[in-house]
């Protein structure tokens, strides 16, 4: 059958490329909104890495990290959005 842990390792390398692209946008900007969108993407990539690590190591506990990241992601983005709106008002 398919060697799933090996496949997960290969896919993790592909996700590293995505991480580099999103990280470049986070550094480059140019506006705050761009950075927040890129940060959002980084958290989604973190969820992906947690899932792939779970497959590669065979430990289901890594999915807990994915769940926690999914929760924190929402709160963080809402806080950023409020910050951006308040910054516009001031």
């Amino acid at each position: 059958m398919i060697d799933l842990p090996l496949l997960a390792d290969i896919l993790a390398v592909a996700l590293c490329i995505a991480l580099a692209l999103a990280g470049w946008r986070l550094v480059k900007g140019p506006s705050f909104a761009d950075r927040f969108v890129a940060f959002d993407m980084l958290t989604a990539l973190g969820i992906g890495f947690a899932g792939l690590t779970s497959v590669a190591t065979g430990r289901g506990a890594f999915l807990d990290i994915a769940l926690a990241l999914a929760l924190i992601n929402f709160v963080g983005t809402v806080a950023f959005a409020l910050f951006l709106e308040r910054k516009a008002r001031d």
Binding site: M1, I2, L4, L7, A8, L11, A14, L15, I17, A18, L19, L21, A22, W24, R25, S31, F32, A33, D34, F36, V37, A38, D40, M41, A44, L45, I47, G48, G51, L52, S54, V55, G58, G60, A61, L63, D64, A66, L67, A70, L71, N73, F74, T77, V78, F80, A81, L82, L84, E85, K87, A88, R89, D90
Partner: protein, 116 residues
């Protein structure tokens, strides 16, 4: 089952890679959000489903809860961020001519107070 898990893992990873390329290549914040939210949400959800199918003893409850939260919160967060982007007067390449009527007064207020 292994084959299905492998297909879902590859699909999810590919979608996230495409979303990241879109974040880098598209031209203004709203377009980047369009790429990140749609492809990012589907990519993570497919990947988590793939993880759940990969072994027999995967924590199904945790995975399903993560999927539920992702599908509910990512679009909502993107909507809030898009609204904030528009209101904060960030330069947008495509929609300068077609303003959003419901938000126009708010945006004008934000702009005038910024120039004071």
């Amino acid at each position: 089952m292994d084959i299905l898990a492998a297909i879902l893992l590859v699909l999810g990873t590919l979608l996230m890679l495409i979303a990241a390329v879109g974040i880098l290549r598209l031209r203004d914040p709203l377009q980047r959000m369009h790429s990140a939210t749609k492809a990012g949400t589907l990519g993570t959800v497919l990947l988590v489903i793939g993880v759940l199918l990969s072994t027999d003893d995967a924590p199904v409850a945790t995975g399903l809860l993560a999927i539920l939260f992702l599908m509910f919160t990512l679009p909502l967060a993107a909507q809030l961020l898009g609204r904030a982007t528009y209101l904060s007067g960030t330069p947008l390449k495509e929609i300068e001519d077609s303003a959003i009527p419901e938000l126009e007064s708010d945006r004008a207020k934000a702009r005038s107070s910024r120039h004071d």
